[in-house]
Symmetry: C2
Subunit: 357 residues, 2 copies
């Protein structure tokens, strides 16, 4: 492979690679997926590794290997607790990497996985997670092609950390590039937001709130595939809004496209439990992590066909248009309401819900 054949997809922008990371030490917020994460990535990882075309901002790199294009990505998982309503770390570890491949415009094909295990971990806990991974892989239609295990002393690693890396086959006819955005493009969302983050919070018992909430962890590839079939060349951008939530994903898009993103907040589906928890905590559902939702920007002409396609995917019945691309405010996300009020929605700042994936 020659280096010039490496093409980073998604929101990575070489223009920002000269920023210098000035903080003296690493804090929890640097892993939260918001502004601090971005400073670390753009100020340290990208400048030092960028000669090699690093793609550290959430999607997959697309490379040319052995004459074929291939999508390649990785993620680590440190969620606490290990299991929660609707899923567990094993499912997250499979679906998270599958989804990074999917939203880069690739069909997920295979993953490899490593476990860092804490000495003293009950075998049944490990076995449950390995089974969860096998099930998630089967549902996502991928193979688990290999792995590695390390063990660290009791007291380290919170039972287990899992890392997965995945490869996939780029879909033909899909070109994901924020620079192709045009004013008038529509922002599509697959369903209710914030379920995953608030489920984790409730599973920790940190909030005295009952609610029938489950993590949304799943493969979003069915959404990608349906949208590509229905609106192929009309697709300008895709993302699974995980850490940092929908607000952070759209802020990155606004910044990279140098256009504005207007969100009709009333049209964003949010379950009552999520809304209630956010009100109690002073959080915005738009900042809460999802592990099975899908965001896309599609040309105005193709948006209706795309939306219909998403709604026909099982689990996509609540898909909706939540906003559109505008000339202004360039580089920012604006929330507008039906009675005319508006506010700027920033990226996630700090880490209100640490270790949710």
């Amino acid at each position: 492979m020659k280096q010039e054949t490496l093409e980073a997809t998604g929101s990575f922008s070489r223009a920002v690679a000269k920023v210098r990371f000035k903080e003296a030490q690493i804090e929890m917020a640097h892993g939260a997926g918001g502004k601090a994460s971005r400073r670390l990535i753009e100020g340290l990882f990208v400048p030092l590794l960028c000669g090699s075309g690093a793609e550290f901002l959430g999607d997959a790199a697309h490379l040319q290997i052995n004459g074929s294009r291939i999508a390649f990505t990785t993620d680590s998982f440190v969620v606490k607790p290990l299991s929660f309503p609707g899923g567990s770390i094993g499912e997250l570890a499979v679906n998270g990497t599958v989804n990074d491949l999917a939203v880069s415009g690739a069909r997920p094909e295979a993953i490899v996985t490593t476990f860092v295990l804490e000495a003293g971990l009950p075998t049944e806990v490990l076995e449950a997670e390995v089974r969860a991974m096998a099930g998630a892989a089967q549902r996502a239609g991928i193979v688990i092609a290999g792995g590695d295990t390390k063990v660290v002393e009791h007291g380290k690693a919170d039972q287990m950390y899992i890392t997965t890396a995945g490869i996939g086959e780029p879909l033909s006819g899909v070109k994901i590039d924020p620079r192709t955005l045009r004013p008038g493009d529509k922002v599509l969302l697959s369903g209710p937001i914030g379920d995953h983050g608030i489920t984790i919070l409730l599973a920790r018992g940190e909030l005295d709130l009952a609610g029938d909430l489950r993590s949304d962890t799943r493969s979003v590839f069915p959404f990608v595939e349906a949208l590509v079939q229905a609106a192929g060349p009309g697709i300008h951008w895709m993302r699974d809004p995980t850490r940092g939530g929908v607000a952070t994903a759209l802020n990155e898009l606004a910044r990279d496209s140098r256009l504005g993103v207007a969100i009709h907040e009333e049209s964003v589906p949010v379950h009552d439990t999520v809304r209630g928890a956010c009100e109690l905590l002073g959080l915005d559902p738009l900042h809460i992590a999802n592990e099975g939702q899908f965001l896309a920007v599609v040309s105005e002409e193709q948006a209706e066909a795309g939306l219909d396609a998403l709604r026909r995917v099982p689990g996509g019945e609540e898909a909706c248009v939540i906003g559109e691309i505008r000339e202004q405010p360039a580089g920012a996300v604006l929330s507008v309401t039906s009675y005319g009020a508006s506010r700027i929605i920033d990226m996630l700042v700090g880490d209100p819900l640490p270790r949710i994936c």
Copy 2:
């Protein structure tokens, strides 16, 4: 990709996939690369993930993606301390994955990486490791194509754990398969063994022994490439003997080939410091980890050409033939001396030197 196109390389044997892991909890030895690791892999990971053709025993899986064959592997790194004479966790993380690709018979092309960071980690420590990775990647001729960062609370993760996954292009004309071994084949080794493991031990200050020893961490792909050019179809097996050392690698080979491996222990190069440390600790240098040595089994006819090729690689000047394949003792490794004595050399049992990679 269809599942039947997935082909596991190296020593993985489906025949063992029915063993059941019976231990109640995970111990340090399960991460040491010896017998306990093998029980965990064969008794838990393989049976649960094996429908997907898992390759958990050290090399890379070779898959068919988008019409091309691709090698794919992953490893986590939890070494203590983070840096040591001759290298650091960042270099290990690059070279370890590069070497798994190389000994599977592939040209390493690209890696992705994740960091699990401990809150409070000084930025300069992280920066040093990212620079080490960039340098190792450049020396190995690969690109770092992307990554992910998670942060865990202070007290977890021993400053940092690094995981890498790599992809590579299978070399044509190389077929690595223990079943192709024949009595008379020669066992080639690239140089002195045990330097890495003992360097880590000394760096921890756990042993009152001075010595000018350095980790051997490096890419072994130059050895692979030279051997393939010199002895292509004569190559029957390759391995980088990391955790568990040369003895464990050769025991796996003996088991998988159902042939015997005879080692002339006097011909195995070992630095004095390594030998001294092993004598003090009651360890066998054959069980000590290496991070830049290369083992191969080559047909009798091609062995001399292969050895000459290895010796011409910079850093391979001490390459030598350390033994040969025999009919007996089938499935075991035998050490023989010039004065006629012999002993069976087992795989590593337990974990005498935890967290050396």
